[in-house]
Symmetry: C2
Subunit: 348 residues, 2 copies
């Protein structure tokens, strides 16, 4: 079959001068075209200094003529590296994950790693399926959101001995390193800002409870007996905030609305104002996230700042270190911070 192989190369080279080649050239084709061995071609790629200039030029000419592009798969099979990791996030359609991913991608790029994204819609089964798909295509590490996993997920990553980091949450005892903030504490901080202003009757608006970060925030508040809280679940969107506020205002009116996500708060504020109420005079509105836009709403939204950009960079470094140098990172807690702006005021 050496014969056959030779024949194929020959016919390719011949055809090439007339019309488009039907197949991508490989190292052997380039070597044949340049009249050198495959090793020399490989050297031109990987250690050009060890190749005589004249030879190198001949090889480079051949590469150009054959429009040769190295095969990533072949390189990967030798190096054992694919140089990309996967991120499993609930949705891409959210300012908060966009910001995490933006920073993550930048941090990974600095380490010459690429980022594959996959969305889970907060469904552990989808997460599992997409994790499988990511492993199938060769992801060297994974980022997951929160701490709700499918049972099979753990077996999967254990088998593959895969670096995995959970983000947007914090729990040093979780079976994989977490890098994130304290959702429980952040929710409490938001509430105590309102109670500190004298608010007692407070409507709490939050997204779907199947998201465990949302769940933690809600649970944190449910433990607080000193305030009169009513909880309203809605979709994680401005539309959800609007809708929930319509419900809130149709009943016994609270003096403040605590939104456990800024997107919801944005919708809530708009709807409150559409009802002719002034913020914060007639109604205080508090958020939680601190999206880039929240400072520039009208009125500017008081909220809890979550360090998502910092988180993105931290995760990039942590995962890169794990993947590249086998350094398993420690769990990392990033502080949240109260940001008082114009949407909250004293109860009256």
């Amino acid at each position: 079959m050496q014969e056959r192989q030779g024949g194929v190369i020959e016919s390719r080279a011949v055809r090439m001068n007339k019309t488009a080649m039907r197949k991508r050239a490989n190292l052997r084709d380039v070597a044949a075209e340049a009249g050198v061995s495959v090793a020399t071609v490989s050297r031109v790629m990987n250690s050009p200094a060890t190749v005589a200039p004249a030879t190198r030029e001949r090889v480079e000419g051949a590469m150009r003529r054959l429009q040769w592009v190295p095969s990533a798969a072949a390189r990967a099979i030798n190096s054992g590296r694919t140089r990309f990791v996967g991120a499993l996030v609930p949705t891409l359609d959210s300012d908060i994950f966009a910001r995490v991913l933006a920073n993550l991608e930048q941090g990974l790029t600095a380490q010459r790693l690429s980022l594959v994204v996959a969305t889970t819609d907060d469904d552990p089964d989808i997460e599992l399926a997409k994790a499988r798909a990511l492993l199938d295509i060769g992801a060297e590490g994974l980022i997951v959101s929160g701490m709700t996993r499918s049972p099979d997920f753990d077996e999967l990553v254990a088998r593959a001995r895969l670096p995995v980091i959970a983000i947007s949450c914090h729990d040093p005892d979780y079976r994989m390193p977490t890098i994130g903030y304290d959702n429980h504490g952040a929710a409490l901080a938001a509430l105590s800002h309102l109670t500190g202003l004298g608010h007692r009757r407070i409507a709490v608006l939050h997204g779907p409870l199947r998201n465990d970060r949302t769940q933690r925030r809600v649970l944190a508040l449910q433990g607080q007996g000193d305030a009169d809280l009513t909880f309203h679940e809605t979709t994680l969107s401005t539309a959800g905030g609007c809708q929930a506020v319509r419900g809130v205002l149709s009943g016994r009116r609270p003096s403040a609305i605590l939104c456990l996500s800024d997107v919801i708060a944005a919708g809530a504020m708009a709807e409150v104002q559409r009802h002719g109420l002034r913020i914060p005079d007639d109604m205080s509105v508090m958020g939680l996230d601190d999206l880039p836009g929240s400072a520039h709403l009208y009125p500017a939204l008081s909220t809890i700042h979550l360090p998502v950009s910092r988180m993105g960079r931290a995760v990039a470094d942590a995962l890169a270190g794990w993947v590249e140098r086998d350094e398993k990172p420690d769990p990392q807690l990033l502080d949240h911070e109260l940001v008082v702006r114009a949407s909250t005021g004293p109860c009256r």
Copy 2:
């Protein structure tokens, strides 16, 4: 070296029963463990029906015991497929791209393709570098934004014979298929909504001109002599909108503000209201994009709806068809649409 090979397998298998294996198991290890040939193991993976149940079970047991995970690279080298494509977008930190990518990812998933994302910050050189990186790791196709390319980009994709689609724009004569909307027409539609309401003195707020989509929108308006337009470049953010409005209101006051992106409009509306002006009575504000949140701002933003979700799905189908079945897609123009809400009113 057959000896050596055998010896290594042996020692691995032996060690495995005592302590963790130092290396990931491969097909040969599994075959040896199960007492079958590598071909049989491969069949268990790819066409289980052709393997005797008893044999299959033995093999599956061996896979489990050795915690075997197939190598993506080895599979890729045989199939010539990596099953992922790359998207090059200016930024992830924007509602608009988040929404495109969300739909893109969903569409690709349906075709069993994964999505690698890379950000370019609207810089052709960064785009080129990241395109190289994506090819290096084996992307089978690329999505780029707009029509500004580095000269070397074309050579790169030509050499790799790589399917590439340009999005967020429309030009049937562009050297690669475009799937997107008519930025020129959308800007004109926004303007004519305002002029139709009687507005003549209009401040136009827009993002950085190095983005060619923004540039098209601006150029479209600059050709319009019948209105008195002043242009204000700012950052593509709510903060940018706020800041630009401060400049606008310090000069001769227009009766309307036309923002060529909704994010800018959101900031602009907030700042206008902070100056004590009512929208639309004292000032009309018009957007362009129609972000999910724009309908739920206060007041609800009049804007031009760009079909970004539809675009995401269309691109997914087009690129999948190209990559999987070599069907090069035709350019595709998606219609924009005027959405009149509460932020615009008659000039007075």
